[in-house]
Amino acid sequence: MEGCDMGAIFTVPNSMLPRARRTGNFTLLSGRIARELKVNQEGRVRAVSVINAETRQEQEIRARIFAVCCATVESARLLLNSRSALYPTGLANSSDAVGRYLHGHVTAGIVGYLEDLAGTRPVNNDGATDHSYIPRFNMDDKKRHYAGGFHFQVQDASFMFPHHAHYMKGFGRSFKQQVRYLQPAMLWMDGFAKVLARPENRVTVDPDRKDAYGIPIPVVHFRFSDNDRAIWNDMKIKAQGILDKAKVRALFDTSPEPEGFASHEVGTVRMGNDPRTSVLNKFCQAHDVPNLFVVDGSCFVTFPEKNPTLTIMALATRTARYISEQMRKSEI
């Protein structure tokens, strides 16, 4: 799941950057860490101040338009660290929404083994069961006492590593034998459920605590709500039910407490029509700063149980089209 030497699987380095490079209008500067976005007197971003990770030299890069895509925690951090006389609480933050509404997925993983396959000869079944998917199915459940749904990704790990070994007790000959015995029979149900977007769950920056480059670090304030816990609980009950019917034995629970966010954190630079309650408009353009765009999951207002990447890609494509149209009309 983590990339492909042949370039057959979609990744940004394999798929998108070569396309960008072929336009001839693309320069990649790696090893630069953005400290802050600097504004001019009209309140537009004029430059990004970056630190070269190797030389520790700071440098300003100017541009006409800035698209921030640092992922949810870091995009909010960059805006909150970009304070000026015009934007004393952080860039594009007149709504006070920057950093707020942090959410993602609450997850629960259950690992078990299929009785009939335990102790059988290993076969090449990579790809056969890797990433089967159970979409949301609780829509018609009248007794549902929470908002939202969940999905399961089944067996989202290969058979190359025996993940059950991390959860088995003991050591020695019998331990090693049991790891081997269960390996062909492994089944892993990974659940992903909706988390509510709430303003009190947020990213702030702490000016007194700095990272190795002297940039104030982000601080994450987060608590699961009652709804988040209820959906998480029901997701586990449903997973157990499915596994029981599939004759999956010896279940063990990889998350005895709700865990987040499956690297799916979103929401800290939300979009909306009202500049008083949102940071970005429907084209991911900052209400306060016309030449600033944020094109990652932080623009999400709410987030269902589904994975975010395709939506992020679609919104980024839409934003790119909007930018090129606006530039043609000289409106930004």
């Binding site: 090449n124 058979f159 190359m160 590593f161 059950h164 991390h166 007790k169 019998s174 331990f175 049991q178």
Partner: protein, 183 residues
């Protein structure tokens, strides 16, 4: 080859309990040969060799942690880690040596195999709720041994006989007679 079937009771016992889930990506940091250790002393490497081999020993099916280069793997990981982790490993190994000297009057590597297993059984007794330093360290040691062994060529190919990641020239479909359709 026929695999011995462990009885159901011991299997369930081994599976009981849970831990929080952190996916460790397979690493391929298995140093080859007996090059000089990067972090541990020669004495600590001896101890680490005895400990990892006791956790995942050679058996009739496959070689164990020592042959798979697990001590060198752990040495590489710890040498590249922060001070907290380095200290935790040094102190953990010390705690086990202290236990060994108290139990059998010798360092762990000098105890008999039976004594070694007794010592490990003692510190593995509270895997759910480790209290003492040695009990906490056992979990760290066991996890690192598992990661090192099952990401090695021996662990992947000889022990688990992993069949994946191969070019599939033609797809034969299901080979079960009862599932084959008459042409």
């Amino acid at each position: 080859m026929k695999l011995d079937e462990p009885n159901r009771r011991t299997t369930l016992k081994a599976l009981a309990g849970s831990a929080s889930f952190i996916l460790i990506r397979p690493s391929f940091l298995h140093a080859a040969g007996a090059s000089a250790p990067k972090f541990f002393s020669a004495q600590e490497m001896n101890l680490l060799s005895a400990l990892t081999e006791a956790i995942l020993p050679a058996d009739e099916h496959s070689p164990g942690a020592l042959a798979a280069g697990v001590p060198a793997y752990i040495d590489t990981i710890v040498s590249e880690s922060g001070e907290d982790l380095k200290q935790s490993w040094s102190q953990g190994l010390e705690a086990i040596e202290a236990l060994s000297k108290a139990a059998c009057g010798a360092p762990f590597a000098g105890c008999t195999p039976v004594q070694q297993i007794e010592i490990l059984e003692k510190i593995a007794a509270n895997e759910d709720r480790p209290v003492t330093r040695a009990e906490q360290f056992f979990l760290e040691l066991k996890r690192a041994t598992i990661d090192g062994y099952y990401t090695s060529a021996i662990g992947i190919h000889q022990d688990l006989e992993y069949q994946g990641n191969q070019m599939v020239h033609d797809f034969k479909g299901c080979q079960h007679e009862e599932h084959s359709r008459a042409e």
